[in-house]
Amino acid sequence: MAQFDVNINGKNLSVDVDPDTPLLWVLRDHLKLVGTKYGCGIAQCGACTVHLNGNAVRSCQLPVSSIKENKITTIEGLSEEGDHPVQKAWLEHDVPQCGYCQAGQIMSAASLLNSNPSPSDAEIENAMNGNICRCGTYTRIKAAIKTASNSQIA
């Protein structure tokens, strides 16, 4: 066990865990930020997606010891009022079915729009291909990303 200082959602926090503990479990078990989901533990499903300095990463593969000064954003910190353009678009399109994968989908989508504010269909599909939705909401996710993209441009 060791002490680690991490910056999560703009707050400096300290956790006492094993150095190899993935960020996913630091968030979920120790910081009680459970919006970031466990799906596979091997970076294949995208449910655990968070932002590292604004870029989408799989928190199940990120040991807490590797985070250092990098800034982490989770679904809870994507916006203060839940009104990030991607979140608003998700509500507008009523995307979720079970909802479990959606935080990861939203974090991937927000990261995509950060780097590419107006992605093509193919760019959306490629950027989102690492996020599995077992309910099959893919067509709605794509529509919502387009809505969010347009609202960011407008």
């Binding site: 479990w25 799906g39 839940g82 608003k88 509500l91 909802g99 479990y100 893919y138 067509t139």
Partner: protein, 758 residues
């Protein structure tokens, strides 16, 4: 106007007060102070009342007019948590924006069939939920009439405001609720005519959407309690093995680890419920302070396993040939396939026979015979199995994702010897169900673990535990034969279906009833791999196979595939063969006719492959036309046109979402997914080896239409899943020139391609 008996005794009304008042779930702030407004992104604060009044077990009304409606059935993503309260709100005549929805806990005194399964939630609660709303509305009206001393018949109500126009008075539900709560429950209430619906048939957003998109705790895996420990299981690595011994010394010494022990979830002498399915009853359990610590300790355990004794005993493989004996041994997919192809059909039992199929086949000018097969599938809910349990002082508190809480309660009662009234089960929102959470072995395991350690515990399966735990959709096979006479008329139809542990046959489904000579046969082969219901059980394979065969048959007969089916349905409608046909030919034909129109079937498609399929299951009818191209042997699905007859559509946009999702899910499993076995070991244990459909592979467009016939609503969670597999197979044939008989399709497409090249 339809009058219905309320069937609600005073007793249940009084009893439920304790439920509704104390129905707060532990560890969560379920009573939202805010809820998402209908407009996206904006929040509308709903003021909380100072006092709630219990009107009946389904709802309570605050002194400010805010209404809480309890959604009785488990929410697995089928969106009943929005749709079920909509039924109550409709008859209550309340403004939907004044409604808060809460998940009801298991309560058999008030609710019946608190199950997420069989696409039955809306169908079976269509009357009871509207009745609950209408009963409450009537009690509010009676209270107002009494207060004002006016005849009940002179009152009108709209959006939670009761008005007496004669005296120009009006009062809100919130003001009259305290009096209504004391009114005698009416014995009869009047339900609205369909054309008076204001909420049913209008699109309402998912009541949990805001919490979902902001990452609020909703799911079983999100449950946190200060004093809670984490438990994980270690199960045998192969079906057919059992626990022998372990060396847990290293694991016990690891940081955060509290204990390592074994449990027997389902002892041999326990009387089980149907939902108590587990391939592995005796499990090693690791308990610790945090998930990661327990995961690491699992890997440090040294466990020895041995073969279940019954697997070494010689058994008769084929009853008709008793000399053929073997041991079941550790199973292999190749052996399953071989047994299904060669042995299973020999063991067939006749399930239905019309006319004289033997003679018709003997006299046929041509016989067309095709066999179809599919592999095992794992449910792969995105939220792995888990449950919170706190068993102390003769009481069990259980919280988590379960599709069958009533059965699980009985199981825990029998397993731990607790009275039912001392077991409290509350359901969280579930990260998928798909049938897996009908089987609550993980819930019983959590209860047994908590009982053993005397502490609150959250049992968590890793993805690998989840995928290798069993309760799978089994491998199936079906062989179809059709007899054609010299004029190319279909004279006989023969279906012979079976599978590993279960047959997918539905003997009374189409085309039964449409062919004079019909034979349906069924068989199963034994297995130690546990199986269970998977989204649209059995239909999830046989629909695609049947619809592929009908497509091939239509082609052999020189008929348009839609017209061919319509002709058969015409026959089944006007002059049905047999008496137990389970479908309505007119509704079946209806979805086919509309899909022909909506997909532009009669005009040439720009896609290289276009296929159609239609199926009836879970009381609903679905027809789909799928259009696709092939790029480097990868199917690119341009468009799927779906036409659904599920009667009244309660929440249209959410219903469209469900049809889109079911369509994608059906395509994905037919094309990509399989679980195979070698020496009893599942060869896929995570998403690197088990393939699920992804964004790039989803259809570019899904067009959904509903038949408007005003009939009572039927299921929607399952029906869109099965037929699209047939539409896909038929489109693939048009695109490639090759029929595909085996799921998953993708390896078959690639194999065909290699054959063509060489």
């Amino acid at each position: 106007m339809s009058k219905v008996k309320t069937g609600m005794g005073r007793r249940s009304f009084i009893k439920n007060v304790s439920l509704a008042g104390g129905g707060l779930l532990i560890g969560f702030n379920w009573l939202a102070c805010k809820r998402a407004a209908e407009e996206s992104g904006k929040e509308m604060a709903l003021e909380m009342p100072e006092e709630w009044f219990e009107i009946n077990g389904y709802l309570k009304i605050g002194d400010n007019g805010v209404v809480t409606i309890y959604s009785p059935n488990p929410e697995i993503g089928q969106n009943v948590k929005t749709a079920m309260p909509m039924l109550v709100a409709e008859e209550l005549d309340v403004d939907w924006s004044n409604v808060i929805v809460e998940q009801a806990p298991l309560n058999t005194d008030i609710f019946s069939r608190q199950i997420a399964g069989g696409s039955q939630s809306i169908r079976q609660s269509w009357e009871p939920l509207r009745m609950a709303g209408a009963t409450a509305r009537q009690m509010l009206l009676i209270a107002a009439a009494k207060e004002w001393d006016v005849p009940l018949s002179e009152l009108t109500v709209e959006n939670g405001i009761i008005t007496h126009s004669g005296s120009d008075r009006s009062i809100g539900y919130g003001e009259i609720a305290k009096f209504a709560a004391k009114v005698e429950v009416p014995e009869e209430v009047v339900l609205k005519e369909n054309n008076n619906f204001k909420i049913i048939g209008t699109s309402r957003k998912n009541v949990d959407a805001k919490k979902i998109v902001t990452g609020q705790p909703l799911f079983g895996l999100d449950v946190n309690r200060d004093d809670m420990l984490i438990a994980m299981i270690v199960q045998p690595p192969a079906f057919g093995l059992r626990f022998k011994s372990m060396d847990a010394d290293d694991a016990r010494k690891m940081p955060g680890i509290k204990d390592v022990f074994t449990i027997d979830t389902y002892p041999d002498d326990m009387e089980k419920e149907w939902s108590d399915v587990a391939a592995f009853s005796k499990l090693v359990v690791v308990v610790g302070e945090s998930t990661w610590q327990v995961m690491k300790a699992k890997k440090a355990l040294k466990v020895e396993w041995d073969l279940k004794p019954e697997l070494t005993e010689e058994i008769v493989i084929l009853e008709k040939s008793p000399a053929l004996r073997d041991t079941l041994g550790l199973e292999n997919s190749e052996t399953h396939e071989s047994l299904m192809a060669n042995i299973g059909p020999e063991e067939s039992q006749m399930v239905r026979k019309d006319g004289d199929p033997e003679a018709a086949f003997k006299n046929a000018a041509r016989v067309i015979e095709r066999s179809y097969s599919c592999p095992f599938l794992a449910h792969n809910c995105m939220e792995p199995m888990n449950f919170f349990a706190n068993v102390t002082n003769g009481k069990a508190e259980l919280l988590g994702p379960i599709q069958t809480p009533e059965f699980a309660e009985k199981s825990v009662s029998k397993r731990l010897g607790l009275d039912l009234e001392n077991i409290d089960i509350q359901m969280t929102r579930m990260g998928g169900g798909f049938g897996r959470r009908l089987y609550g072995n993980f819930l019983v395991e959590a209860a047994v673990i908590s009982d053993k350690i005397g502490a609150p515990v959250k049992l968590v399966y890793t993805r690998e535990d989840d995928m290798t735990n069993g309760v799978y959709r089994p491998a199936y096979q079906v062989t179809y034969r059709a007899a054609l006479d010299g004029n190319n008329n279909l004279t006989a139809f023969h279906v012979n279906a079976g599978g590993v542990g279960e047959s997918p046959l539905f003997a009374n489904r189409f085309p039964a009833g449409a062919v004079d000579n019909y034979l349906a046969e069924s068989w199963t082969i034994d297995s130690h791999i546990s199986i269970g219901a998977f989204r649209a059980p059995r239909s999830n394979f046989i629909a695609g196979a049947e619809q592929s065969f009908l497509d091939e048959l239509a082609e052999e007969m020189g008929k348009d595939p839609i017209q061919f089916r319509l002709d058969m349905l015409e026959r089944a409608g006007t002059d049905p063969v047999g008496e137990n046909n389970d479908y309505d030919p007119a509704r079946y034909a209806g979805v086919l006719e509309v899909v022909r129109d909506k997909s532009g079937w009669n005009t040439a498609s720009t896609a290289s492959g276009r296929g159609v399929a239609a199926y009836y299951c879970h009381n609903s009818y679905v027809a789909q036309v799928l259009e696709m191209d092939l790029e480097d042997n990868q199917p690119v699905i341009d468009k799927v046109t779906c036409v659904v007859d599920c009667g009244i559509v309660v929440n249209p946009d959410a219903a469209i979402n469900m049809v889109e999702g079911g369509t994608i899910d059906g395509i994905g499993h037919a094309l990509y997914s399989e679980l195979t076995f070698k020496d009893g070991v599942s060869q896929q244990s995570n998403f690197d080896s088990y393939r699920l459909i992804r964004h790039r592979e989803a259809p570019k467009k899904i067009d959904v239409h509903f038949i408007e016939n005003g009939m009572d609503p039927t299921g929607l969670g399952e029906p869109p899943f099965p037929p699209v597999q047939g539409a896909l197979a038929n489109a693939l044939y048009r695109a490639t020139g090759k029929r595909i008989y085996k799921q998953p399709f993708l390896p078959e497409i690639k194999a065909e391609s290699r054959e063509i090249k060489t």
